[in-house]
């Protein structure tokens, strides 16, 4: 009886690992062929607070807001500064553009609990990470399916820890063949010779892994470097 159970668990786990391996993005980014996209890209951006928020908002500021909307900003619980900075960017961009009936102005904000606070012990981290994951799953997997709110075409991440939980929620969708956003990870400008922990963890899973210093791709593993993005 116990042996049958162990067999079942081993088979289930093997299937899971195989399934995840099959849905991992390939080593080289496949360029989409055929007609170019005309529909706008529903965009979500994770603001990791502090320097991460500043860098991310610089990246977002470079995008054509006529192509990337609606925009959802995901912030960690308690991080009001990131929200303020995002609102400031949205106002600035709105002032630049003539109003258009087709373009949704304004942005949405979602708050998720932090997977791990700074200096939090690794002992309690699995608990807070699990809480965080549940909320991410709600927003990415459940909410679009059942509540008809729009799901997201692209999710842009640049660290820190909570972005790993967002990535897991997106993969939960992929496991079940549900629509899942493209995942873009941009390593910080501050990382010259070594990747951050988030970067190391997310590298195999994201659709585009972008670094800003060429040394980081010396190991020959997947990634794009187009120089400084900030």
């Amino acid at each position: 009886m116990a042996i049958a159970l162990i067999h079942a668990v081993v088979v289930a786990l093997s299937c899971l690992v195989l399934r995840i391996y099959c849905i991992l993005p390939g080593k080289t980014s496949a360029k989409p062929r055929g007609r170019s996209r005309t529909a706008p890209c529903r965009t979500a951006v994770f603001l990791g607070s502090g320097g991460h928020t500043s860098e991310m908002l610089m990246l977002v500021s470079s995008l054509d807001f006529g192509r990337y909307f609606p925009r959802t900003y995901i912030v960690s619980a308690g991080d009001t500064l990131s929200t303020q900075k995002a609102v400031a960017l949205e106002s600035l961009k709105a002032a630049d553009r003539p109003p258009s009936p087709n373009v949704v102005s304004g942005a949405t904000f979602i708050t998720i609990p932090r997977a791990r606070r700074v200096h939090q012990t690794l002992l309690t981290t699995p608990l807070t990470a699990a809480c965080s994951l549940v909320v991410c799953v709600y927003h990415i997997s459940i909410s679009p399916l059942f509540l008809h709110s729009s799901s997201v075409d692209v999710l842009i991440l640049n660290g820190p820890g909570t972005c790993f939980v967002l990535c897991m929620a997106a993969y939960l969708n992929r496991l079940f063949g549900l629509p899942s956003p493209k995942l873009i990870y941009v390593e910080s400008f501050a990382r010259v010779r070594s990747l951050s922990l988030s970067g190391l963890l997310l590298r195999p899973f994201v659709d585009r892994f972008v670094v800003q210093w060429p040394d980081l791709l010396k190991d020959g593993r997947r990634g794009d470097c187009r120089g400084w993005l900030v």
């Binding site: 980014s29 989409p32 860098e55 610089m58 470079s62 995008l63 192509r67 120089g227």
Partner: protein, 190 residues
């Protein structure tokens, strides 16, 4: 934007009345703050023509003894008039007033300062566990954009800094990320 004047003779430098701004962001960097307020560094600053100093000390601890408290800041009038305070909502005005900036090696601060075309000396905090700050400081120094210094080497770095020889930091190039994302999402090139 051209870097600050680097005078050729000591006597003309001492009449320049230039201003130095020191920042540690939201971090605690006791050793930098204390060293900047020491006679060694103040003498080096004075010899290069700096007559006023403002220090944004964040969460750092320093000896407030020699200072007079005035509201939220500590002041000391001496050869180099000094003012120390913890936080301000924005440092842009402080960067604008300064002829030289000395800071911790946080990437956000570095980008903000270099984009304003100001001479910058960064001091990586060696007590930090994961010292990727050092990597960034060295890489940017290697490209000539700033000077990196240890705490103990700070006065010498100040004395030998040639601001005019610093390489201007490139302007923000938004097209790189925009093109990368447009490509990934299948948008045609503009």
């Amino acid at each position: 934007m051209p870097p600050s004047p680097s005078a050729s003779t000591a006597s003309s430098e001492s009449s320049l009345r230039m201003h130095v701004f020191v920042t540690v962001g939201s971090t605690r960097f006791d050793s930098l703050v204390q060293h900047v307020l020491s006679d060694t560094v103040l003498d080096a600053l004075r010899s290069r023509g700096y007559s006023t100093l403002a220090v944004q000390c964040g969460n750092s601890h320093f000896d407030t003894g020699p200072f007079k408290k005035a509201g939220e800041s500590w002041r000391r009038n001496a050869e180099v008039d000094t003012e120390v305070w913890r936080f301000k909502p924005s440092l842009q005005e402080e960067y604008g007033k300064a002829d030289l900036i000395i800071s911790h090696a946080g990437s956000g601060t570095i980008i903000d300062v270099l984009r304003l075309g100001k001479p910058l000396i960064v001091v990586p905090n060696e007590t930090l566990l994961d010292n990727h700050q050092q990597e960034l400081a060295s890489a940017l120094e290697g490209l000539g954009h700033l000077k990196a210094s240890t705490i103990s080497g700070l006065s010498e770095t100040i004395e030998t800094l040639e601001a005019a020889r610093l390489v201007p930091f490139p302007a923000f190039n938004g097209s790189r990320f925009r093109e990368l994302l447009d490509e990934e999402m299948g948008f045609a090139e503009n």
